[in-house]
Symmetry: D3
Subunit: 236 residues, 6 copies
């Protein structure tokens, strides 16, 4: 759905819109594959007289108690649009900002987390059929990481900077603090990173590492509000 | 909180852990700055006899009706940990996978969306004081985009590939389909992208664009489950 | 997504599965139509210097303050997968139980609420283009109400009862209380309904209206639990 | 709560309002019965030194690990207003539209899913006492399915159509496409359904099955928005 | 619902259980009063041709754009189980721990926030009828604050301590740090509070204010996990 | 985060603001302690070939199936910002009203539920290291209960009443019903409580217990709304 919303929101970028619709369609197919896999795995799941089964054979008990009970009770041994602990999928996860460079970074992240999670599941199971399906998803996630990284590179080159949004006038931001690393926590190992000195990736500034963060202004102090808000009454 | 969880989960990567704790601490400060700004903006907000005010002066009415009423009712003209339509912040937004390359991409995306949103708000208001505060945030978001992009680059070079996770044995994925673009939607503008042909970014394969997706296997067919699940009864 | 999950979970009911996939695909198209409509309506939306605009022209102020600010800030004047107050869409809304009669009733309800809401929005606006689009959705929702009601009727006839699930052995439920209306609230107008007397729709029992609910058993009383739960200590 | 909100929102339909308040009150009683059942089942639950217990007796381990830990930690071996995987109940599930025909369909669906889920749980347990309680709920859900189906029938007859809302002027919808089935997915088994030909249930039109969906208009194309939104910059 | 769950979970505390059921029933009545009030206020709400109305009369525009659109679209000018920005009510808000002293503190807090919010709304409106209804709720919230504070006092005296849970053996907690205030933030005004020195309220210890928090142990360091988790690979 | 928002919203109450910032900082440390504990406990967790392991050794199966799978799949054996069944933490839990007496009661409740839950977990485990950590948290929760109770007492004395908000003019509430207990449920044990007779805690009124609640006004009746809302059509 993230790719669909990004594609539907494209304003004049035909090459990217078409690509987004292609990948979005493929991903609906991936969900169908997973839904089918879940349904098949559950076909023979032990659901009758669970308590009795648990007591008779602890191994079956372990399998039953590791199951998401909603697969049986709510979905009749079918799939659910939820994560591995049953949290329902939420539209709040969708990122479609109208700025493709920002959104392709979101997509690159999504495919990175995705391939990582599939790799972990791959190790946690020993069912050959499931592993075969996952090896397809792993390959497609590899391609999609390549694809989004490539599209990010293409846009960064076209827009002439790695900063999103590229068109915001930089003189309206506080450029004097736009390349500083502030050492806010104990330890100073952070100064050993490539982000701590040298030419910045955006090609404009020079990183610097400050052992003590700059302080500007005074500690903030709020005025009282109208007594009609019934806050804590002021000291007399 | 995302950076805190990533830092707390670091296993032996001291340079990155220290850096994450530095940035996490800075971000708590940013939330404090925004919370203070919201509280100050609301100090003189019109909250009494709203309906009467709306009828008397429509401009005040427009301002009142554009306010999030929870700022007055729930927070007494203070800030709320919610988005611009009042959805509460959710722990489900936190990404901390234990794989730093994956997570730094999540962070690069977060700072990209963040700077984009601040830039938009910057244009939507004309209060000089608020713009001054936002120009600080814009600069820090610029640095943080540089920082995460730099850290991503450092890790990609160290791990020798752009693919997450870098250590999964590639021969266990379906390499024969790991570089294909499938043309799943109408239109073929997608073949003009840099993801459609040439050497892949991971340095291993060659992209190819397929006008028709490969079909493998047959349409899936599910078996019936135990009648104890009370699904639709089979046709007789 | 509800229709997709119902279709993917079909076990051997090909006619229904194919129909579900047809309607699911059409509905993705409806979302695209609405997403496009939202994006077009927002193309010329006033987003710059909002506070100034509100003060200058209260009518523009009213329009701005009636807008969902996330369309501008988060989506760059694009659509969002959220309801009219910005609550994100949730996977918990999806009903796909593996029992088609139950689920087709869910679908009939969904299309009934849907057409009702579209009819209300139709009256609330006066933009001719939007009304034209809504008149398409109204017609399709009419068809979909006919379709689900028809499919419900077909399955009720095939399964020989209106009760879901039709295969649960009725002698294992408390049949002696399966046709009683209990008058639990003040007033007795409820006895005038067709549900209060006469042959039941399931063709098996006879409705009866009881002015006083039957009482069985005693008021429940819970035993204390282990002190390791640290509940309220018992009186000595 | 759904029935309470529907009852409280009734505008002049006394028979239905009284009936809704009766059923709503009964349902609060059902929740009390279930809450009491849960509390009693948990009275002797093994909560002390869980890890030790798991290692000593795997059957107890299976029971403990199948438990929702919040029953012990948060509720002290009492019930929680959450589903079988711990998702809290949400007010977003409540349907109370102000149109009784629409809402009674929602209620018929709710009681259908409800009886289906109770039937499944009935098979999954072997505790005689719990089964006795469930056989009461099964019977009441049977009656409630009869009741809502009956009330739906009564309203459909009174309003003279099965379409919700019955009062929307049909000439303001696109009647030319209000009886078409579009074959959007692979396979054409959908044309064998009773929804594909013959007189429509609303008594006004004639169903038709179209192997190829009608196409109207052109592919949508969005215009650029103000640069102040900082979308992807247009190609030069 | 919080009071219902607390009452249903009572184990042998009849006086408290009966009291909880009394207040729970009254609160259902309060929700009915508010639902009725909302429905009546909306009876004459302007819903037709909103955009046209906004342009013609900005004052009406301000009223319309301040409305929650779901009241019209979803509820047909009826109430919704949601807060002032439309977030649905959630079962996660319910506190019913099985320990009455803990829960009565939750209730005292709920009635405190409740009366505060009603007082604020009272000032924000000028409709005499609504103010009359709110003056009833304010009085009942006053009583309920008295009631829960009284019940808290009763239980604290009966259990012999203000600490929840009163039965946990205190020698199993780190008593040596159970009365220390740690000065973790800038500024030392916190030492002027009654919590900083003198006899503790639990009657057992003596408060002390420490300008520097005690440090115990070393900075935490995590070991690597199995490579099958595909975390960041260790430096070679 | 609750204490941070309360502290950031303080308007001129320096002693309380400083104290809130101290405790907020300590609590971030507690989360770090718990996050580290979770990460260490999971270091040796069995994650490979789970199904095989379950079948071979049921005790390991019980441990695996009792695990939150997101710790492995999503967090790579690290902590998650979620509760014991995986519900993500929500900003809606934060109470920061701008009235410190109300909010300190919220905090007293939070620390009461917190210490109760830690005490329960303490009994459920037998790992000595975890118990040692919990004994620290138990002691700090003891202090925090003392602290919030003390701060509540200080504010009640300063404001001269236990009622929140203390500044609302009491003659604008319905004082004639501000001390009544209504016997709304079966049984009259509620009259034995200290809330049923005698001087009220607020020092102003006298409690009374009414066996029958006062009835005022008539049953509510709603008028029809505009037909453009498409509610149930009125009877003719």
């Amino acid at each position: 759905m993230q790719y669909l919303f990004q594609g539907w929101s494209c304003r004049g970028e035909e090459k990217y819109k078409d690509m987004l619709m292609d990948i979005a369609t493929e991903e609906i197919g991936h969900v169908e594959m997973l839904a089918t896999m879940v349904a098949r795995l559950l076909e023979g799941a032990p659901v009758e007289d669970q308590e009795a089964a648990m007591k008779k054979d602890p191994a079956i008990g372990a399998i039953i108690s590791g199951m998401n009970p909603q697969h049986a009770i709510v979905a009749g041994l079918g799939p659910r649009p939820a994560d591995s602990v049953g949290n329902p999928w939420s539209g709040a996860y969708i990122i479609a900002s109208g700025n493709l460079l920002a959104d392709f970074r979101a997509n690159l992240n999504a495919e990175s987390q995705g391939r990582l999670q599939v790799a972990r599941i791959y190790e946690m199971i020993d069912d050959r059929g499931v592993k075969d399906l996952l090896s397809v998803l792993l390959a497609r996630d590899s391609y999609h990481q390549n694809l989004w990284a490539q599209a990010v590179k293409e846009l960064e080159e076209k827009e002439g900077t790695i900063l999103v949004p590229s068109t915001f006038p930089r003189n309206e931001e506080r450029l004097d603090i736009a390349y500083d690393f502030y050492n806010f926590s104990e330890g100073d190992q952070s100064k050993e990173g490539s982000w701590a000195k040298g030419k910045a990736l955006d090609g404009e500034g020079e990183y610097q590492w400050l052992s003590t963060p700059k302080v500007e202004g005074k500690a903030p102090k709020l005025d009282p509000v109208t007594p009609k808000m019934y806050g804590t009454p002021p000291e007399k």
